[in-house]
Structure formats: structure tokens, C-alpha cells
């Protein structure tokens, strides 16, 4: 479908005035190696830092001797938990109301935990000095298996918390349990299955880091840091360090990928600030890859038990879920306060049935903290995986084609807006059309025929599998009355200034990590004002120069800040109308908008362009009572609801039964994210997410051995998909605008990461003709699944 391909006028530079394919503004610097990433920040007199990390998963610290490190000629300072205790900074609040150790004082609680911070003249010396620090540990038994965390004899990890006698973090539920149980009791078919969404890591190509500079004279703290949410970080620094917020400037330079990894505040960032205060010099800290994988926000780690009920004909009646969530040593998930399990309770997915209930229990283990990261839309990834796997299990039980079962149960277009059994209001959708489109592109019938032939042939190798998933995403948090992080409502500001010559600057609270905001947001304003996108500069990533807002994650940028930009531009347009009317000596009602120009109805010769109006607004034109000069607007957008993009994905795999190797032959993705502002960028976002899904389904998992050693602590062990594992993707689209978003756009950044893993897993299991095994489907896992001895992929291979 090409519903958004309405031709728009072209600017002098050849760009669309408004929506359409436009090459990216940011590319000019990145292609020349002139991006400015965190490690490119250089300041005069800057010192370099490194962190000593725990080699144990659980141990009491009985002594730290830093004297040899301090004696190193190039070392300027060594900071330990004891130093921080003196400053009341040894612990910091997490994004979910827990506390996290900045540098360990009493115990270490996961392998890779921060123990000491060394500041030296150069990075090599800082790392040399780490070797000179002596830490005495008294090892303690580690809680590695989440399923054993609540056993009565499990060691208590968080004995720092008053009165704590076990490892439980919370119990939380959603849905009507009694009604759901009743539906299950009367159902003709009930299928139950256990499944794991393994611990994975966002692993952006750029690791995390910070450069802190406390100017002793002015009292101003400037922090350049890898953050997707600069304003939220500023407030948090004010809270953590007790510094006055107006004296803190957070600068998020170019970000080399985020995917959720750069939402939170890490101990290294806080240490860099302390280091700058202690030494009086700017301090740079950049983590290495192992530190990134072992200590910063992991994602998933959900052990799920699902049960699905249906009639014999395949009408789904209900879904209930029990989840054990492994949050690691500190509850550091980033998500709206009201929802400790994020948006997991959207798990009813894209189908029409009345009964649903979920119970989520979260536990501490001796693993790195985190839990919401990696493009998951606050746990919708886990929810979609659960329901899409359960629907496949049901299809298997009923002997029904999984596409047919889905078609039978998908929500119908006339049901929107649709309120789900757990209380979400889906804004708009045409689900069957998306699935039909995916099946058409795939040639679904033909694929099934090929598979049947292959299966009928005893020498038929490799094994062929076809997997489907259908997802509904919920993105663009708030509204702020329901959604906040640490009390900060999830709304975002935006400021638009049109300069006297008609060129504009747009200031955003959100921060790009590769999504192309500098281009897309200029296009939104261009669409509303009719000025060329090359005449609109997007400013972001600097708290001194942008309005407050909660930042980029959960695919929020277009749904929230995109709406803010559109509304700001619409306000400017309305103000321009008044100014044009004044200049033309007519009533604003006599004017009509023709892209880029207010003109007199019936006399289009008479009109004023936006640049003309902009100049007049700064000039000596006498404006009507109550109308201020200049042409600008500032908006805080509080979304009325989430937007709900959706899509239908089909994956075709070939599995070599001799080696267990899985090859993704084809991947068909039909996405509906509403109107596409820049289709090229949207497709790029989808490509990246599909690779994420293939990676998680086939390669990525962080497992632990019985001592709590992290087995995924480098790119040799934690495998990312390369160009060889990824197929050439086949994309399609449908367009269903969001009724409540000013331009109908729904957000797409995480859709493919959410939607693709179940398609790949369903395909692999279809090839193997087994109902359930856990990802990632490495050759070893596939091999074991084929033997009927599936592996626990969260623990070391026995």
C-alpha cells in the first residue's frame, strides 16, 4: 500500500516540504568521521578514570587497600565506597524506588559491581592502578537461579534494606482473576506452557560514559554523558548529589546507539561527578565492552508460565500468566511508577477474548541490575512473546494452521477504540488487513506447500519452518496522570522559534540515538508551516538549551515530542494568521491556508508567506491588542493515551538437522505505524529491530554459572547478529492513523524488536515440529531440543 505517498512540493534543495523520503541532515557529519560522541569530548586538563569491579557475584568486603594505587605517579585520586559514605553518596536511588550501591561498602552483589574508582592522568595509567588495589573478599553463596531465589534457605541479597528477610521485590497482578478462572474451568481446551525470555543486553556499539566538570568558581556542574533522557538525568543528579538543579547542565552529544541502555544513571557517571569535585579537574570515564555487558542495564529475564483457553473450534476465551521476573541485585528498572512490571499486562495482545489475568513476582538475584532496556516498550516485548507463543501452542494442540487461528481471533476494525480485559484502550487498527498483506507478500500458501513436500521427502533437508507473529505495541507514554518516573510526569516540551527571515529553530526534550530526529522533526514543522526542512534546525541533547521532558525511550519521540512539535507549529501558524490579517488589513477569518502562505479567500494574489509574516512579526507592524511580537510557540505535550502501532511478521527458516544451525531464509514484516513522516527512516528503524529479534531468537543470551559468573561478558561470548545471520528483509505496510495524535503518527522505533522474536522462534519450532523450547536457538540449543532434552538457557550448559 502507498497510502502516504501523497505528493508534496519540493524545496529548493530538493527535499519534501513535509512528509516523504528525505536524506538525513545528520549524515553529513557522521560520514566524515565528524560525529561528536562521548569519547570525543576533550577538555583542557581533563583526567581519566577507571572502575575496579568485583570478580565475585556475592561476597562481603572485609578490607580495601588503595595505598599502592595512590602511590602510582600518575594517579590523582582513588575513591572507594568509604569515601562516598563520607559524602553521603555511597548509595543512589534507582528509577524504581530502590537504592543501588554506587561503590560497594558492605558487600558486592553481582559480578562486575563497582568497588573503586581511580582517577589518573591518562586512561592506561588509571587501568594500571586498578591492578594495585587490594580488596579482601569473603565469598558468600550466590543466588543464580531465579526460581530458587524465594526458597527459605536462599541467601538474603539485600540485607542492606531494613527488615529484609527474603529476596522478594514485589508481587503484582492485573486482570480479574475470579472471572478468568471461571472461564478456564469451563473451557473445552486449555494449553499450558513454560517459557523463558532470556536475559539479553542492548549492547549499543558505543558503550556508556561521562565527562564531568565541576567549575569551582561558578559552582556549575557540566556533564557530557550518554543519555537518552538528559532532563531526567539533570533532576536525578540534583536529587542524588544534592546539587542545585539550575547549576547543572547535562549535554548528551551524539549517541552511538541507545536501545534503552542509556536511560538510567550508572555508578560511573556519579563517580565522574565526585571525581571532578575531588580533583577540581574535568574527569572522563568511558566503560569498556565487558563493563557495558556485565554491569549496565540488561533486559528481559522473564520466566513465564502461560495458559490459554479456547473452544474446540479455536475461539480463544482467555489467557492467564504467572511470571517470575529476575531483576538482579538492585531493582533498577526504568518504567512508569504505577506499573512495577512495566506494560506487561498488555499481554492479551491483538486478539478478542474476555478473560485475562497476570501475576508477576519479582526477585533479587546476584546479577546485574536493570530489567527494562533494549527496545522493549516497557516489557511489551515479553508480553507479545508470551501471547504469540501461546497462540502457536494452541494451534499445535488444535491441529490448526497458526495463521488461520490468528485470523479467527484478531480484533476486527470496527471494534476500535477497543478496551482490553486489562484496561488498555487501543486507539485504532485494522489487524486482518495487516496479516493478509504479510501472507500475500510471503506467498503463505505456497510456503506451506513447499514445507509439506519437504516433510514428505525422507531425505528432505534442511528442515523448513514458518513462523508468524502479530503484535500490538503501546508507545508514547504518558498521559502523565498515569505515567511518571520517580514522580516526573511523562510529558515533553518543545519550543519553536521562527526567526525574522523565516528560518526556524526547534528545541526538543528528547534525544536521538540514531533515529534521525534532526531530519524527521524538521519535516514535521515543514509539514505544518510549509517552510523547507533545510530551513529548520533541530536542537536537542542540552538541558540549558532545550525545554524539559522525559526523553527518548519506549518509542516516545514521535508520539510525544512529534506531537509537541506539530502542535507548536500549528500554534505558530495560527499566530501567523493574525499577523498576516493585520498586515493585509483584513480579518483572520478572511484568510485561508495554502501550504506556506496565508491568503485572502477568493483573492489568492493577496497573501503573506511564513517568511514575510515572520519578518513583519519582528518589525514595526502594529499588532492587535493582546498579540505579542515575534513568531514562536512553546508547548508541553501531555499525550491523552498511548498510540498503538501494530504489525504482522512472517519468518521462514531452514534448520540443518545435522548441525542444529538455523538460517533465516526470509523475513516479511508488515508494519502499521500510522502515516510515515520519512518512510526511509521508518524502514531503517524496522530493519534494525528485525536484526535485534533475530539476534535474540538465535544468538543473544546472558547466562550464569553456579558461582554467578557472567557467561556473556564480551562480544566473544555475547554474540550479536552480523551481516551473515541477517537476511534481506521484505517490508510491507498498512496505514491506520492514530485518532488522537495531531498528525496521526504512532511511533515505530521498537515495533520490530517487539514483534520479531516470536516469529523467529515460532519458525524454528515449526521446523523442528516441537511445541516448546527456549531461545536463543544456537546450534547447541537446537540440537538438545531435537533430542527432547531442552536446555535451561539462563544457566550454564550442564
Amino acid at each position: 500500500m502507498t497510502a502516504t505517498e501523497v505528493p508534496v512540493p519540493t524545496s529548493p534543495a530538493g527535499n519534501p516540504i513535509g512528509f516523504g523520503r528525505m536524506l538525513r541532515k545528520e549524515d553529513a557529519r557522521f560520514l566524515r568521521g565528524q560525529g561528536h560522541y562521548i569519547d570525543d569530548v576533550q577538555l583542557p586538563g581533563m583526567l581519566h578514570a577507571a572502575i575496579l569491579r568485583s570478580s565475585y557475584a556475592h561476597a562481603r568486603i572485609t578490607g580495601i587497600d588503595t595505598s599502592a594505587a595512590e602511590a602510582h605517579p600518575k594517579v590523582k585520586a582513588v575513591i572507594t565506597g568509604a569515601t562516598l559514605e563520607g559524602l553521603n553518596l555511597a548509595w543512589m536511588p534507582t528509577l524504581s524506588g530502590d537504592v543501588q550501591s554506587v561503590l560497594a561498602t558492605d558487600k558486592v552483589r553481582f559480578q562486575g559491581q563497582e568497588v573503586a574508582f581511580v582517577i589518573a592522568e591518562d586512561e592506561y595509567s588509571a587501568r594500571d592502578a586498578l591492578e594495585l588495589i587490594e580488596v579482601d573478599y569473603e565469598p558468600l553463596p550466590a543466588v543464580v537461579d531465579a526460581r530458587k531465589a524465594l526458597e527459605p534457605d536462599a541467601p538474603v541479597i539485600r540485607d542492606d534494606l531494613e527488615g529484609r528477610t527474603d529476596n522478594r521485590i514485589y508481587d503484582w497482578e492485573a486482570g480479574d482473576k475470579a472471572a478468568c478462572d471461571e472461564v478456564f474451568a469451563g473451557a473445552e481446551v486449555v494449553v499450558a506452557e513454560d517459557m523463558l525470555y532470556p536475559r539479553v543486553h542492548p549492547a549499543p556499539m558505543e558503550t556508556c560514559g561521562s565527562v564531568a566538570h565541576m567549575d569551582k568558581v561558578t559552582g556549575k556542574l557540566t556533564v557530557w554523558t550518554t543519555t537518552q533522557a538528559p532532563h531526567a538525568h539533570r533532576t536525578l543528579y540534583a536529587i542524588v548529589a544534592g546539587l542545585p538543579e539550575h547549576k547543572i547542565q547535562i549535554i548528551s552529544p551524539d549517541i552511538g546507539g541507545g536501545f534503552g541502555n542509556k536511560v538510567g544513571i550508572y555508578p560511573g557517571y556519579v563517580c565522574a561527578v565526585v571525581g571532578s569535585i575531588v580533583t577540581g579537574a574535568p574527569v572522563k570515564w568511558i566503560e569498556d565492552r565487558s563493563e557495558n555487558l556485565m554491569s549496565t542495564s540488561f533486559a528481559r529475564d522473564y520466566h513465564m508460565h502461560g495458559e490459554i483457553a479456547s473452544t474446540r473450534e479455536g475461539k480463544i476465551l482467555g489467557l492467564r500468566v504467572d511470571v517470575l521476573a529476575d531483576h538482579g541485585a538492585f531493582n533498577g528498572v526504568a518504567q512508569p511508577t504505577k506499573y512495577p512490571a512495566g506494560f506487561f499486562h498488555i499481554f492479551t495482545g491483538s486478539y478478542d477474548y474476555p478473560a485475562a489475568h497476570c501475576h508477576v513476582r519479582a526477585v533479587y538475584t546476584n546479577k546485574a541490575p536493570g530489567g527494562v532496556a533494549y527496545a522493549c516498550s516497557f516489557r511489551i516485548t515479553e508480553a507479545v512473546y508470551l501471547v504469540e507463543r501461546m497462540v502457536n501452542c494452541l494451534a499445535d494442540e488444535l491441529g490448526m494452521d497458526p495463521a488461520e487461528l490468528r485470523m479467527k481471533n484478531l480484533l476486527r476494525p470496527e471494534q476500535f477504540p477497543y478496551t482490553t480485559p486489562t484496561g488498555w484502550e487501543y486507539d485504532s487498527g485494522n489487524y486482518p488487513a495487516a496479516l493478509e498483506e504479510a501472507m500475500r507478500i510471503a506467498g503463505y500458501e505456497e510456503l506451506r506447500r513447499e514445507q509439506a513436500e519437504r516433510r514428505a521427502d525422507p531425505a528432505g533437508k534442511p528442515l523448513m519452518g514458518i513462523g508468524i507473529s502479530f503484535f500490538t505495541e503501546g508507545v508514547g507514554a504518558g498521559p502523565r496522570k498515569h505515567m511518571d518516573i520517580l514522580g516526573l510526569g511523562m510529558a515533553d516540551g518543545c519550543e519553536l522559534r521562527v526567526h525574522p527571515t523565516g528560518k526556524a529553530q526547534l528545541r526538543l526534550s528528547v534525544q536521538t540515538q540514531g533515529q534521525g530526529h534532526e531530519t524527521t522533526f524538521a519535516q514535521i514543522v515543514s509539514h505544518e508551516l510549509g517552510i523547507p526542512p533545510e530551513d529548520i534546525e533541530v536542537i536537542h541533547g542540552d538541558t540549558d538549551n532545550t525545554p524539559f521532558g522525559l526523553g527518548t525511550y519506549g518509542s516516545r519521540s514521535t508520539p510525544v515530542s512529534g506531537a509537541a512539535a506539530a502542535v507548536a507549529a500549528q500554534r505558530v501558524r495560527e499566530k501567523a494568521r493574525i499577523i498576516a490579517a493585520t498586515a493585509l488589513e483584513c480579518s483572520p477569518d478572511d484568510l485561508e491556508w495554502e501550504l506556506g502562505r496565508w491568503q485572502v479567500k477568493g483573492d489568492p494574489e493577496q497573501g503573506k508567506t511564513i517568511p514575510e509574516i515572520a519578518f513583519a512579526s519582528h518589525g514595526n507592524l502594529e499588532l492587535p491588542e493582546g498579540v505579542e511580537g515575534h513568531l514562536d510557540a512553546s508547548v508541553v505535550y501531555n499525550p491523552p493515551n498511548l498510540t498503538y502501532p501494530f504489525g504482522a511478521y512472517i519468518c521462514v527458516v531452514d534448520v540443518d538437522p545435522e548441525t542444529g544451525e538455523v538460517k533465516v531464509r526470509r523475513f516479511i514484516a508488515v508494519d502499521d505505524c500510522g502515516p510515515r513522516i520519512n518512510p526511509m527512516i521508518v524502514e531503517g528503524q524496522i530493519h534494525g529491530g528485525l536484526a535485534d529479534g533475530i539476534g535474540m531468537a538465535l544468538m543473544e543470551a546472558i547466562a550464569f554459572d553456579p558461582e554467578g559468573n557472567n557467561l556473556g561478558g564480551s562480544f566473544m561470548d555475547y554474540l550479536l547478529p552480523t551481516s551473515l545471520e541477517c537476511p534481506s528483509y521484505e517490508l510491507g505496510m498498512t496505514v491506520t492513523p492514530s485518532p488522537h495524535h495531531p498528525i496521526g503518527a504512532k511511533g515505530v522505533g521498537e515495533s520490530a524488536t517487539v514483534g520479531s522474536p516470536p516469529a523467529v522462534v515460532n519458525a524454528v519450532l515449526d521446523a523442528l515440529e516441537i511445541r516448546q523450547a527456549d531461545m536463543p536457538f544456537t546450534p547447541a540449543v537446537v540440537w538438545r531440543a531435537m533430542q527432547g532434552r531442552p536446555l535451561r538457557t539462563d544457566l550454564a550448559i550442564e
Binding site: 569519547d39 549499543p204 556499539m205 569498556d288 551481516s723 528483509y729
Partner: protein, 161 residues
């Protein structure tokens, strides 16, 4: 120790620690920060530069090993502001998002295209299999390489931005 390395056609000379990595020589000694660093295990390729015309991972090459040799980095690809056809192709095909892997990808693919001006998709995928990208899913990087093969000289119009 002292090293003399020709970088992007200019002879550079510095007193360095023998253990200094080439990536750090380029970034910190010379201030050429287009070459990135992304892992500790020689897996990601963000640091790819040319050593005597051959792509190498500068995180696993000592500055000392480059002593007396010629290094080429991403900063040398465009000429006087005009993009190399491969850079232009990356822009046209949206072969980059965050841009972090891009310098390494460009250096790997420029070497491929110099060797094989018309590589097919499989050859391109093989060539970049040591360069990780977390953003693009590789699709548009492959397309960019094909585009560059089809348009071996930069089109005269510069992209406005």
C-alpha cells in the same frame, strides 16, 4: 619509543608507550576521532582503518606495528568536502543511523570496492561480517555498497542539509 607513521598522506611522529594501540594513537595523539572503539575483543570493527591499503582493526594493532607504514582513516575519504561515492551511497541508501559503526564500515567497504568494483550481495555481506552494526540490520549498508558499485563517481549535486 618513537614511531613514524604516515597517516592520510602526512607523516606523523611521536614518542609513545610500546603498548599504545593504533586506535589510541589516531584518536588521542593525533586527534583523529573519526575512528571509533567499540569492544575489547576485536569483534566489532568500529576501529577499522587501512594499514598499507589493507583494512585492519586498529584496536588490535599497536602503534609500534604501524611504525614506518601508511595508515588511512575515514577522515581521508572525502576530498575537499566532496564525499567519496561510497559515503554518498551510504547517505542515499540510509546506510547509517547512529553513525558509530559507519567509519569502520566505510573503510572495509571502500577496500572491497577497490578490489572488486562490482561485488554481489553475498560478497558484500562476507566483507562486512567482521563489522557489527546494531542499528541498521545491515540491509541498507548492503544496498549502499551496491549503490556505490553502480555509481562509482560522486554525483555533482551535494546533498543539502
Amino acid at each position: 619509543m618513537q614511531v613514524t607513521i604516515t597517516v592520510n598522506g602526512t607523516e606523523t611522529r611521536a614518542e609513545v608507550e610500546p603498548r599504545l594501540l593504533l586506535v589510541h594513537y589516531l584518536r588521542n595523539v593525533l586527534g583523529l576521532r573519526g575512528t571509533h572503539w567499540g569492544c575489547d575483543t576485536s569483534n566489532c570493527g568500529a576501529c577499522t582503518v587501512w594499514l598499507d591499503g589493507v583494512p585492519v582493526k586498529s584496536c588490535t594493532t599497536l602503534a609500534a606495528q604501524a611504525d614506518g607504514h601508511a595508515v588511512r582513516t575515514v577522515e581521508d575519504l572525502d576530498s575537499g568536502g566532496e564525499l567519496d561515492p561510497l559515503q554518498q551511497a551510504f547517505m542515499e541508501e540510509h546506510g547509517l543511523q547512529c553513525g558509530f559503526c559507519t567509519p569502520g564500515m566505510l573503510m572495509t567497504l571502500r577496500a572491497l570496492l577497490d578490489r572488486d568494483p562490482d561485488p554481489d550481495e553475498a560478497t558484500i555481506r562476507e566483507a562486512i561480517s567482521g563489522n557489527l552494526c546494531r542499528c541498521t540490520g545491515y540491509e541498507n549498508i548492503v544496498r549502499a555498497a551496491r549503490h556505490a558499485a553502480a555509481h562509482p563517481t560522486t554525483a555533482p549535486e551535494e546533498i543539502s542539509a
